[in-house]
Amino acid sequence: MKAKITITLKNGVLDPQGKAIEGALSGLGFSGAGDVRQGKIIELKLDETDEAAARAKVEDMCRRLLANPVMENYSIELTA
């Protein structure tokens, strides 16, 4: 299976990079764009064919390495 993990900063956590991007967008003349938040996407392939097992494995990866639960949320998308 393939997994796509989206990692974002938790609500309320200051995102200075998002703010800078917002400022740059406004500088380019894009009006009406706000609340810019920057995150990251991690893609990986798994040998697992069972979706529940794959999800459990990726959850474990997120908790132990891919995301920092102090400041980040994550969501997992699995495809065959």
Binding site: V13, L14, P16, A20, L65
Partner: protein, 220 residues
């Protein structure tokens, strides 16, 4: 007294830490490679500053999962004093030895200058050389030094006297101006500023020499 400095790929303050420890103990510390699984006999461990693993994923994230860190965590839980400076602080939070996280500086700038810190608690082994409320000057040099934790954690750190150093003029947006904290057992310190860079008048200051001397005396 035996000391160890852990060396990760792209540590860049490891040799400074060695010189500072040498000056304070009179003995050359062991430099321990991140890929080693075991530590030599040691009474004090320093995780130095730098950009371990190129700050991949998050600052300190990869280093915190390196083989040597399993040994460091075990020693720390057994009571061995551990100091994490700058990237070392980031590694300690990522390894779960200290609460919170170090995020991108609020102003986005890499900050690189001397800062004045207030010694908030001089009852720790890391600060007994100083008076409570004393101002000390250490340099900072970091991009990710913005200490973050939820308010409950921050309240606990404050009420338990675990904020050891606080910025007088906050350079990075850190919650409650926090520059350095200890764990609940009091044997692990993480701080963003660099005491190892001010150990001689030739380097522009000696507050760091007092820091290491005090620590070595407190550890015995």
């Amino acid at each position: 007294m035996k000391t160890s400095v852990i060396v990760f790929p792209a540590s860049n303050c490891d040799r400074d830490a060695v010189v500072a420890l040498e000056q304070a103990t009179g003995k050359t510390p062991d430099m321990v490679w991140h890929g080693d699984a075991e530590l030599p006999a040691t009474d004090l461990i320093v995780l130095p500053g730098g950009f371990s693993y190129g700050d991949y994923l998050r600052s300190g994230a990869m280093a915190a999962r390196s083989p040597i860190m399993r040994a460091v965590v075990e020693k720390a839980k057994g009571g061995t004093p551990v100091v994490g400076i700058c990237n070392g602080f980031q590694i300690l939070t990522e390894a779960g030895l200290l609460p919170g996280a170090l995020m991108r500086n609020a102003g986005l700038d890499f900050v690189c200058h001397s800062v004045t810190l207030m010694v908030e608690n001089n009852q720790s082994i890391f600060s007994s050389a100083f008076e409570k409320g004393q101002a000390v000057n250490f340099p900072v040099a970091h991009h990710d030094g913005n200490f973050f934790a939820d308010s409950e954690t921050l309240d606990r750190l404050e009420s338990e006297g675990r904020v050891v150093f606080r910025y007088v003029d906050n350079p990075n947006g850190s919650a409650r101006d926090i520059a350095g904290i200890i764990n609940d057992a009091g044997n692990v310190l993480g701080l963003m500023p660099h005491p190892e860079r001010v150990i001689s008048p030739l380097l522009g200051g000696v507050d760091g020499a007092a820091f290491f001397k005090g620590l070595v005396e407190a550890v015995g």
